[in-house]
């Protein structure tokens, strides 16, 4: 390497380091806390008392589910009980905490539930049946959690200073395909398409390793299974080509990328470091629209995707879970 090349390399390394530093120091929690504080300012005292829980409230932490709110009661404030400005403020919090595509996914899951309301006319479904709560006071520096969810959605966003995590969170879809505002919506469409593409990119020997030879009827570590972890199965990342590893991370990015970009990028970098130790398992047919279950499991991640044969078209009813065995509810960040 000549002197000019060396200088260029050093300069590039310096710029990269500064960018990394800037990224690490980006105040993740502060803008979300600001949006949450604005929301709290729109509430009366009773509502404020109902929406904020103690950060250590274990019962509230676990009060999320794939089931409708009439079966598993949620804490916090019900969207249907809020005024229009209050509801807008909730959406502003979500938009601040999530990436644009993550926020869109949340909206599409909620709007999908709205389509279930129309045939029955009952009070069990629809965007009014989602709840917002905080564990801990919204803060730019101290840990706190935002919970938002209802039927087929349970997101738990833990924030502290420049860090954040979505673990554990549940996304789902029913219907998995519908029309909304004149467009066709598939809330979990990318997850489905990318998983089939990855599975179909494997050669015969790889496929054999990846395939679990038994039916997967549900998520193994879905809502209500906090504090558990299963033995990894399938094909190990070290047995994938570089391109397949990229596809695996890209697929996982459908969950990690729900969080705002700086948090998602940090998580994805962490997963890339561990990709050789990350497993991909599959159960079901390899052609769409098949009833195929898959799991991604590595040292700091567990993702499951399970179509549900619970009446109707199974491919139109999907449950997923995202966990981090090392950092559920931000356990790494101390205060619990």
């Amino acid at each position: 390497m000549n002197c000019i090349s060396l200088k260029r390399s050093l300069a590039a390394a310096c710029v990269f380091s500064l960018l990394s530093l800037a990224q690490a120091q980006e105040p993740v929690a502060a803008p979300v806390a600001e949006a949450a504080t604005k929301f709290l300012g729109l509430l009366d005292d009773t509502q404020r008392g109902q929406v904020v829980y103690d950060f250590k409230d274990e019962a509230q932490r676990q009060r999320w589910s794939n089931l409708p709110t009439t079966f598993v009661k949620r804490g916090g404030l019900r969207m249907g009980d809020l005024t229009a400005p209050q509801r807008e403020a909730v959406h502003a919090i979500l938009a601040a905490a999530l990436s644009p595509q993550g926020y869109e996914k949340v909206r599409e899951i909620v709007e999908g539930d709205e389509t279930l309301k129309k045939p029955s006319g009952g009070p069990l479904f629809g965007h009014d049946e989602y709840y917002i709560s905080f564990l801990g006071k919204p803060s730019g520096t101290e840990p706190w959690i935002i919970q938002f969810g209802g039927h087929h959605l349970g997101i738990n966003i833990t924030l502290v200073g420049g860090q954040g995590t979505l673990a554990p969170s549940h996304t789902g879809a029913q219907p998995a395909l519908y029309e909304w505002e004149g467009k066709t919506v598939r809330p979990l469409g990318h997850e489905t398409d990318k998983s089939f593409a990855l599975m179909n990119s494997l050669d015969d020997a790889q496929r054999q390793k990846a395939t679990i030879g038994s039916q997967m009827h549900d998520l193994v570590l879905g809502p209500g299974r906090d504090g558990k972890m299963i033995q990894p199965e399938g094909i190990k990342g070290s047995d994938l080509t570089e391109k397949q590893q990229d596809a695996l991370l890209d697929l996982a990015g459908e969950w990690t990328g729900i969080m705002r970009d700086s948090v998602a990028k940090t998580k994805l970098e962490e997963m890339r470091k561990n990709v050789a130790e990350t497993w991909f398992a599959w159960s079901g047919p390899m052609e769409k629209p098949g009833l195929a279950y898959f799991r991604i499991q590595g040292p700091t991640v567990l993702i499951e995707y399970a179509p549900q044969k619970l009446g109707g078209d199974p491919a139109n009813h999907i449950h997923t879970i995202y966990r981090d065995p090392t950092n559920e509810y931000g356990a790494q960040w101390g205060k619990k």
Partner: protein, 206 residues
């Protein structure tokens, strides 16, 4: 007299029809959750000094009555602790567990049951934990075989080994467990978990 009886019957039928409609309105959309299956999910946690089977049982709405009949034996609409434990013992009789080809006796460690209403709604989960006295594990490969024959006509199953390093609460000197293979039948009512026990430093020195 006949007309009066007829009026009473008609009025009763009307009331019943209204009650049915009201009840139907309260029911969730048919495809909201599990309907005609009884999900039995078993997590097997193997530690140097203990083996635990954590079984979560979730009846769908269509099979909830049949499952409830097994639990609420006196049919009073309330599930007592005695009935829950009795159900745990009944489940135990439907499980066949063998360690290294020798049948083992399960011990019911805990049993929890949600309310009748929760079970009927499809949201209730019966949680039962069994322990297996592993005896003295030797430093060699072992096989744990599990066959679940509980209510097979209505059930679907999940059977998974827990990740030992995640659960291991034993001190390092107690040794460690490594899962080497999991094999299951297609419907997961039967499975074998192969594992190795590695004694701790103190045990090796003895």
């Amino acid at each position: 007299m006949g007309e009066k009886v007829s009026e009473i019957v008609t009025a009763s039928l009307r009331k019943f029809a209204v009650w049915c409609l009201a009840w139907a309105a309260l029911l969730p959309h048919a495809s909201a959750h599990r309907i005609d299956e009884y999900l039995q999910a078993t997590l097997v946690i193997i530690e140097p000094g203990s083996i635990r089977l954590e079984i979560n049982l979730t009846p769908g709405t269509d099979v909830a009555a049949a499952v409830l009949a097994q639990i609420d034996r006196n049919g009073d609409g309330v599930i007592s602790a005695e009935e829950t434990n009795a159900y745990g013992e009944a489940l135990k009789r439907d499980l066949a567990v063998a360690l290294d080809d020798r049948p083992v006796d399960l011990k019911l460690a805990s049993a929890q049951c949600p309310s009748v209403d929760e079970l009927r709604s499809g949201s209730g989960i019966v949680q039962i934990v069994f322990t297996v006295p592993p005896g003295v594990l030797t430093a060699q490969p072992h096989r744990l075989e599990i066959h679940n024959r509980h209510l097979p006509a209505m059930s679907v199953y999940l059977l998974n080994a827990g990740q030992p390093q995640f659960f291991n609460t034993a001190p390092p000197e107690a040794g460690s467990i490594e899962i080497t293979a999991q094999k299951r039948s297609v419907n997961q009512d039967t499975g074998t978990i192969e594992f190795i026990f590695r004694p701790g430093a103190n045990a090796s020195a003895k």
